[in-house]
Symmetry: none
Subunit: 204 residues, 4 copies
């Protein structure tokens, strides 16, 4: 029998995909420890048994998600714009921050859960630490030309910390501000830090 291959994915690949999606949703809602495999399989509408055909454990599912996110993060970090020394190019940073916001909105939950998992499990901690250092390195490379007199690595550290936690506060609802405002806050702070001037808000 000839089946028109409408879908490029095998059944197994689709099941795996649904589990990854469900995992993202459940880890987002409940965090790593509080998330139960039961929640994941109910969300994905598959059985417990099937779960273990694709992932060897709850941790394994998380690892898979974390790898996905880490890859996207690394890619995004590599695309952080190089600051020209003359203080030009604010639009590029602004646009990059928006892309970061998109990613964080989708994957912030996994990043949070990472933090949570990190405490007890050293493996994630190491991977996470490495990712953070890589991320900082990329940002440092971007700002170095603009301000050679400040320690780019140190400045980048502060910038990364600020970006991550500001988005977290935004997502968690602690900050009562619009997303545009958040992006502006961050852009302004980065400019102030790197160029020593006060970049004014873009959105009226």
């Amino acid at each position: 029998m000839v089946v028109a291959s409408e879908s490029a994915l095998t059944r197994g690949e689709r099941t795996r995909g649904r589990l990854l999606e469900a995992g993202t949703a459940v880890f987002a809602e409940r965090g790593f420890h509080a998330a139960r495999v039961d929640d994941v399989v109910k969300t994905a509408r598959i059985s417990h048994g099937t779960f273990y055909l694709y992932f060897s454990s709850k941790e394994d599912l998380f690892r898979a998600l974390a790898v996905e996110v880490a890859t996207e993060m690394a890619t995004l970090a590599g695309e952080f714009p190089t600051f020209p020394p003359d203080g030009q190019g604010p639009a590029a940073v602004h646009e990059w921050l928006c892309r970061f916001a998109d990613l964080y909105e989708r994957a912030g939950a996994v990043i949070q859960a990472w933090t949570e998992a990190e405490i007890s499990d050293s493996e994630f901690g190491h991977v996470g630490g490495k990712l953070v250092r890589e991320f900082i390195g990329h940002i440092a490379a971007g700002i170095r030309p603009a301000a050679p007199d400040l320690d780019a690595l140190q400045a980048a550290t502060a910038i990364v910390a600020m970006i991550e936690r500001t988005y977290y506060l935004y997502i968690s609802g602690s900050l009562r501000a619009d997303r545009d405002v958040v992006v502006d806050i961050l852009a302004a702070a980065i400019y102030a830090g790197v160029y020593g001037g006060h970049a004014r808000s873009k959105t009226p």
Copy 2:
């Protein structure tokens, strides 16, 4: 009858204190969800039964610790130095950051656990959000005189986010830097942001 050594604390108060201490240690080591009451009572060297004389559940113990930490945080925030408009007073901020570091070193675990608990439990989330906004408000009050042309609340948001996450990265080991360096990074970044200049590191 004269009592030789009148203890200032009753037996019960001492036991409660030991449980709070043990709780801090265990939440620090394992995080909120992974922490077991069993770990807490073993650390405090008391029995399971006694634990439930003082706290109705693991959540209840956490709540008590969180209130303690929140109080200390609020106090510290209220003592953030006011920036004189002439760019003086770096020493005061530096000293304040050191005090924050002390507090974070002691209580960071509870703050992390707070984040973790926040996801599923709305009560903590609300309290946490309120605390963050208060904290930001105090910092904003401190920097407002120095740079009236930037939105102090927005700047304070970025600063608080940066401070918190930078210390977190330091404590979690993702940053391979000394504590002095971390304090310097933050001080420099805050100065750059507020005064628009590059405050150079104190430690060579």
Copy 3:
């Protein structure tokens, strides 16, 4: 494919059934409060975990049993014979009392436990009260034609109370009498009460 022995019950249904049976036995032996889930699962030869797949708690298992018993009780009550006005038909009451005895022997434990549960839990109390009133109503309907001059509902109340507690005394061993004798006592008492005469015992 032809399945050799198609079981009418799924595996799950059989497990649930075994738990209900085990519950009846354990509540019978130890009463409601003293019964431990551990006893039930050991009797049913299944694991603790499985128990909680079928019942959310010990109370829940009891509820299920109570519903079963209440249904049987209600059915039996509905079949109480109508007394012909001429004092005929002792055999029918005698036979009905035997059926009640059978039910009480099987389910008396649950009825006792009901009483026990009733004290603290209002839900069971209400259900139990309703069941008793229904039961009394059916008996009242049966005796009304025989003795229209006595308040059938009041007489039925006394009859039901007497039946229940007499069987209880018999089951609990307080009465040192054979079951046949117990049935005779009750039949005689009911006849005496309803027809105003002394129905003599059947067993010499």
Copy 4:
């Protein structure tokens, strides 16, 4: 110092008395198994330690209460009026049933708890069985002269069962009737059973 002995009871006796009172109340409200020593000492407003100065265990307290009740029961049973053969003396039975009602109202809880305790503990069971047989014996002695042709012991069994459970249904709220009506129902049923006639209700 001379103390006017206003109270004939020592402090210890008063404490013991308060524990007995509290025990009655708590067993009444929660039943034997669900009653916690904590409830008893809180009700009596004494400490856990003191409880164990007077009673060696929760069961011991119950035993003491049960003995009190059993004694009162036995006394009351001994005062059941003798039925004259001519069908006179309804007033005496009516009055006796009222006294039983008083006792049951005060001590019914202990009687219920007895039933509950009986299941697991054989000692109480035996004592309870003996009490019931004694009780039945006294009632049998009372009705024997009235109706020599019926087996007085069997009739008494039915009467006792009926009385006990009817009051129970009344106390537990399953019966929605006034106490006077309950007494009347029982009196009527006893008369009908013993004299073979329909004794009509006393209360209009």
